[in-house]
Amino acid sequence: MKSHLGIRIAQFIPTIFLVSIMVFCLQQLMPGDPALVLAGEERDPEVLAQIRAELWLDRPLVIQYFHWIGNVLQGDLGFSWRIRQPVLQLVATKLPVTAQLAAMAFIISVSIGVPMGILSAVKKNTFWDYVANGIGLAGLSTPNFWLGIMLILIVSVQLGWLPPSGYVPLTEDWRQSLATTIMPAFVLGNALAAVLMRHTRSAMLTALEQDYVRTARAKGLMEMRVVLRHALRNALVPVVTLGALELGTLLSGAVLTEQVFSIPGFGKLIVDAVFNRDYPVVQGVVLVTASVYIGLNLLADIIYVFLNPRLRTS
């Protein structure tokens, strides 16, 4: 087990290193001179030269990279060109908002996806299986920004049940916070619920064909107990792993969800930065997201090892 985890942790470092090169190279794709973007209307050659020197743009690329990565390793992700704040500070303010949204979305998707997957597997090739599969595929095919707009139209505009946009922090007023985030969390968790449903169904179908399930049935146990205690316990191992992996993709979905519901989170930060041509923020957000994503991958591996007795003892 230790060697398996050791290998995974050892792979983590070169991956992060390559990601950092990729993120650094993003800036090189930018058309024109970054100093011109930063200078705005000011085209004085002296000012431009000063900006280039400040940002190390007048040095060779390799030196620029090592200067940048050196700062990143010391917790300095750069300085926002527009908001005039350290990028790390901006990320630290916005990340908890997205984390709350992602956590709620995860709970919603597990509560919908796993029971639907179990039902679909237990009732294989029946009406319920077809309905669950249809809903799953529809969930995967619905763009979450459109689902968000439709829910605002029905739940907020027509029925007036929930606020259409905005955000209240959990620490300020938890009821209002839930009211403002429940709809975005449902929208964000929709695709993940569909993915979890499909994986639970597949894992349950495999588990239900195993000898230990046949033995449990032969012992005369109630079907509910056979399904939940014997089949589900084993089927959940790959599903839990996948769930941890998919947490990272929620960060991606949050970009659109936060845009639709005007939630001041991580996703909205990157979109606003893109339109303000605030490239250090874009780079910082991509780097932090990728690091979180790789970390979650590693976490998924560790969970898998702990949940799987065969890997735990080997």
Binding site: Q11, P14, T15, I16, L18, V19, I21, M22, L26, Q27, L29, M30, P31, L137, A138, L140, S141, T142, P143, F145, W146, I149, M150, I152, L153, V157, G248, T249, L251, S252, G253, V255, L256, Q259, V260, I270, V271, V274, F275, Y279, V282, Q283, V285, V286, T289, A290, Y293, I294, N297
Partner: protein
């Protein structure tokens, strides 16, 4: 009795003589959902190709007297905030979305399949280096990387397609690498090697045709993903630029008039859903048809 046995044997022989491709096509057409998806996508393609003749109005023609008119006989899907016909814009938008789906997946598979083939076939250090690069690219969530790429390249449909294509490439590398490693263990590949064929010839002539099925399934599902990605980028203002129509950008402007003109949000979104749903149905059908064991 003996006549029946002879008939059965004949049927078995006839089935055995059918090519795997033909059997897969037959299995695909036995799935009503997949056929339904194929019919809908064919309709979308026909409408997109015939847009100049099918669309009732010019999609960019504005009219101050027709601002935000509800669906009617004259304008089946109503008009938008500039008095443009929504149906015509949805029809022309199909071009942008389908084109983005196909071109970005062509970029992704055009780069990803040869690289995956090389990694799987060569193995060793080449495989390790490519594997790490793919891991690094997959470490960034798809949309965040596509947004960042589109932002740095500049907002346009063309750049959105490039950004989606680059972002989708690592999946094709992984799929074709795994399929190559599987196919490379077959006896006919060993035989081709033993006959003295150079490695590139073995890879292209003997391995490549055998990795086509999983790549085809991935390509179909990737087109669905690319259509959503293009709509997402256009929704954020990083894809198709106004006044050219695109389903995503139509939803962006529809958001501002949700209470006054809900039809502006309903129809383009329904078009995205229907196209993506159909591609997913085809992808699922293809997977079951090409690999019946994976059902």
């Amino acid at each position: 009795m003996s006549a029946t046995t002879a008939n059965d044997a004949g049927a078995v022989m006839a089935k055995a003589m059918q090519s795997p491709a033909r059997l897969a096509v037959r299995r695909f057409f036995r799935r009503p959902a997949a056929v339904g998806g194929l019919v809908i996508i064919s309709l979308f393609i026909i409408v997109a190709l015939a847009a100049p003749w099918v669309a009732p109005f010019d999609p960019t023609q504005t009219s101050w007297t027709l601002i935000r008119k509800a669906p009617s006989w004259a304008h089946w899907m109503g008009t938008d905030e500039n008095g443009r016909d929504v149906l015509s814009r949805v029809i022309w938008g199909a071009r942008a979305s389908l084109l983005a789906g196909v071109i970005s997946v062509t970029i992704a598979s055009g780069v990803g399949v040869p690289v995956g083939l090389m990694a799987g076939f060569a193995g060793g250090k080449i495989d390790m280096i490519i594997g790490r690069l793919v891991d690094a690219m997959l470490a960034s969530p798809f949309l965040i990387l596509a947004i960042a790429l589109a932002a740095f390249l500049g907002p346009s449909l063309q750049n959105a397609m490039i950004a989606i294509g680059i972002t989708a490439t690592p999946i094709f590398v992984r799929v074709s690498r795994a399929a190559t490693m599987d196919a490379a263990t077959n006896d006919y590949v060993e035989a081709a090697r033993a006959l003295g064929n150079p490695p590139w010839r073995v890879a292209v002539r003997h391995v490549l045709p055998n990795i086509v099925p999983p790549v085809m399934v991935q390509a179909t599902l990737a087109i669905a993903g690319a259509i959503i990605a293009e709509a997402s980028l256009s929704f954020l203002g990083l894809g198709q630029q106004p006044p050219a129509p695109s389903w995503g950008s139509m939803l962006n402007s529809a958001q501002r008039f949700l209470t006054q003109a809900p039809w502006l949000a309903i129809f383009p979104g329904a078009a995205i859903f229907l196209a993506v749903f159909s591609f997913n149905l085809i992808g699922d059908g293809l997977r079951d048809a090409l690999d019946p064991r994976a059902k």
